[in-house]
Every structure is written in structure tokens, then in C-alpha cells.
């Protein structure tokens, strides 16, 4: 495997802060907006963004974790069933503006499942998508992010891995390629 670091260190933090400012531009003081991170890896992004927003706005920010396992479109089409993660949404989504968050946007199928899963908690007002990494030109489903950290051109055999200080020790985005 060959590793190419796409983003790390202070630049990573600047990107997160830029995404927060863009969110504030559209959602003002977040009184009617909530953040939802998609399990398993999107929740770290949502937590980080929520923390930054709390610092900037000095206000409580509602943030939840959404598991999409039971809503995936590949059940019975893969090796075995996926083990679900926890969904933790302790507030009402009805009528709220929701910002869905995932670390990497690739085929778009996860986002489709997430929109389906989210409806079990009510009918949201407006739904937006924030992603840290957009793997361009690889969508299977017509999904576009409203807020993007960085854009990456990659091929299917490559992998994009986002590490977080809280769980992995450092903030980093790496592109992994199979050695030829």
C-alpha cells in the first residue's frame, strides 16, 4: 500500500473551521439547526464540528449519531450482515434543518440510506450534506454535498481514510493505493 497524505496538521484544523463558518453563514445561531453524524466514521466529524461551533457561538448545539445499517441497499448482497452501531438522537427532528455529516462522500449510497434512516425520527425541514472529503466523479446516486472540506480525484481501488485526534491520535486524511 502506498500512502499519500492529503491533509493534516494546522491545515486540517483550518478546513474544519472554514466548514463551521460556512455553516454559520447559512444557519446563523443554530437555533433551528441540528447536526447528525453518520455511523461509524461520520460521528467524529459531527462531534468536532459541534465542538467548534459551541466555541464560536457559545451556545448549545444539538448533535446526534445515526446508524444506517438497517437501511443499506446491499443487505443479502454481501458476504454477511453488517453489525449495527448505536443510533443516538435525543431530540426531535420534525421541522428542523438537518446537516448530515460523513467523513468521506464516495458512491452516495450511504447518504441515500441515511436520508431514509433519518425519516424514522420525523420529517425534517431542510436537509443538507457536509463531507470532509469528496471523492469526485465516483457517484452511483445523484447526491452532492452542500459543504465540502477537500475534493479528491481517486479510482475505485484506492481508499480514503480520515483519522481523528480523539480516536486515532492525529488529524489526517490519507489516500491509500494498492502497489502495482
Amino acid at each position: 500500500m502506498q500512502n499519500l497524505t492529503l491533509l493534516d496538521g494546522p491545515k486540517f484544523q483550518i478546513t474544519i473551521q472554514r466548514l463551521c463558518r460556512q455553516l454559520i453563514e447559512n444557519h446563523n445561531d443554530f437555533s433551528n439547526a441540528i447536526l447528525i453524524g453518520i455511523q461509524p466514521r461520520g460521528i467524529y466529524l459531527a462531534r468536532r464540528v459541534a465542538d467548534e461551533l459551541r466555541k464560536i457561538l457559545n451556545k448549545p448545539i444539538l448533535q446526534g449519531d445515526l446508524d444506517i445499517t438497517f437501511y443499506r441497499d446491499d443487505f443479502r448482497r454481501r458476504e454477511g450482515p453488517l453489525v449495527p452501531n448505536q443510533t443516538k438522537i435525543d431530540f426531535i427532528i420534525e421541522g428542523k434543518n438537518v446537516v448530515l455529516m460523513d467523513d468521506v462522500l464516495w458512491t452516495g449510497r450511504t447518504i441515500r440510506a441515511a436520508m431514509d434512516a433519518m425519516l424514522a425520527f420525523g420529517r425534517p425541514g431542510k436537509v443538507e450534506l457536509l463531507t470532509l472529503v469528496d471523492r469526485r466523479y465516483s457517484r452511483h446516486i445523484p447526491v452532492t454535498a452542500d459543504y465540502t472540506g477537500i475534493e479528491v480525484d481517486s479510482i475505485a481501488s484506492q481508499k480514503v481514510v480520515v483519522s481523528w485526534k480523539e480516536t486515532d491520535g492525529e488529524d489526517k486524511i490519507v489516500l491509500l493505493s494498492e502497489e502495482l
Binding site: F75, R78, G80, N85, Q86, T87, A120
Partner: protein, 308 residues
Amino acid sequence: MGLSTRHLLGIKDLNRNDIELIFNTADTFKDVINRPIKKVPSLRDVTIANIFFENSTRTRLSFELAERRLSADTLNFAASSSSVSKGETLIDTVNNILAMKVDMVVMRHPYAGAGVFLSKHVKAQIVNAGDGAHEHPTQALLDAFSIREKLGDVEGKKIVIVGDILHSRVALSNILCLKQLGAEVMVCGPTTLIPKYIGSLGVKVEHDLRKALNWCDVANMLRIQLERQDIKYFPSLREYTMLYGLDKQILDSLDKEILVMHPGPINRGVEITSDVADSKQSLILDQVENGVAVRMAVLYLLAGQSGA
């Protein structure tokens, strides 16, 4: 990561990882069934037939609800109102149902081994919902799941199963499941209702109810299965109740507060009195609620296997 078996015929076929996988999955489903919208679309392209050759309320409703909560299509079949009474064999009956493109069969049957037999002769995945006095795996799973939920863990806990061990599929499945999870198990009842070689399963035997209750953390009270008793095993129900019935007086006289379980249906006033069944130490309704979540987990994990 999945179950090590294609069918759920008995706890005997499950290893500890399987049971823990089922429990972890059931935790998530318990969360799902407590939401305003209690349904997920996972099994939308799966059809499940519930074939009951024996009466059932809880198990049948619980399976049916679990299937619907997973968005599966369901077919219900009760042998008493079918062509079985005209002499059709088990394999023919099931193959005819499978010809209608059914993927899974949940079956209860009065004969031990009916599920195993069927799994060897038909293509569909089989879930045993009770076969004679043999096994009732989903009941054992939901019982152990309820203990885990209340006490945090099953390992190291002391569980006594009281009553008609001889005729009980719940007892055998419970013993296998609890032992697999590292619990200590004791059976308690009149000598005539305890199988001779039960000790080979690694369980303790006690004939004095009070001693058994003082030993345990959880007491699982079983029903006297009069319908399976071909001879008299004890002089009278009244005598059985005097010696092995659990009432509030005994419960309150114990050194510690134990939990009381019952797989249902309850014969109030026989193996357990109403004030115990409805007390705060009773897990009976938790068991029923957990039954749906555990069965959802089992169906989800089996249906999700590749080539299933």
C-alpha cells in the same frame, strides 16, 4: 462477521460468539422498537412462513411482529386449519409453501427434531420455534438477554430453573445457552420431573425449592406441561404447588432480592402466584418485550448471510 450456522435449530449449534452477536444486534433492535417509527426496511425482499403445528400465542405473535418490524412479508399457517389434517406429510406441506417463493420458515412442531429433519430436506432457512420437548432456542436467547439487561452480564450469575424439566424444551435450551455464557445453572423440581442424566449437562440438582432460591440470583419458573404428561408424575397439582410453587411469602423470606422469570403461559396459582408474577422482581413482561428484539436479531443475522 456473521452467525456460524445457516439455520437456528437449537442453542446446541451456537457458539458463544454467535450468542453475543445476537445480543449486540438485539440491543440495536430494542432501540428501534422503542422509536415512534418501529420499522426498518432490511428484510423487504424476504418472505417468511410461520408454520405452527402446535398452539402458541407469545412465540407466534412475537415472531410475526419481529418479521413485520423488519419489513419482511409473512405467511401464517396453523396446522389445525390446514391440509395436514387430510394426511399431507411435513416435507410436502413445507415444499408446497416454498414453491410460493418463501425464503425462511419459522416452525413449531410437537416432535423433537422436526426442525433438523426439515433443514436436511428443504432449501429454505429454518428457525426452530419449539420442537417437542427438545429445544426452543429463541426463548433461551431472550431469557439470557433479559438477565444480561437486568444484571449487566450472564457470566458468573446463578440461575435456577424450577418445575417440569423433563418435558420442557425451554429448560434444555436455557441450560445450554446459560452454560455457554458462563452462568451457573441449577434445576429444581420433584425427582420424577428431572431427567436422570441431567447432571451430564453440568447443572446442579436440588429438590428443595427454598434452598434453590437462596442459592440463586434468578429463578426461572416453568409451567407444568400437563399436555405432555402421559402418566402421573406427582400426586396432585395442589401438592406440587405447596412444594414448588413460588409465592410472595417465600420470596420475601429470602436473604436477598432475586429476579423471577417465566416463559409463559403462566398458570397463576400453580407454579407462581399472581402477586409474584406482577411484582417488581418479575421480569415476565421484559421477557416478552425483549422477545421481539431478539427474534429480529436472529432473523436479520440469518437472512443477511450470503447465498441465503
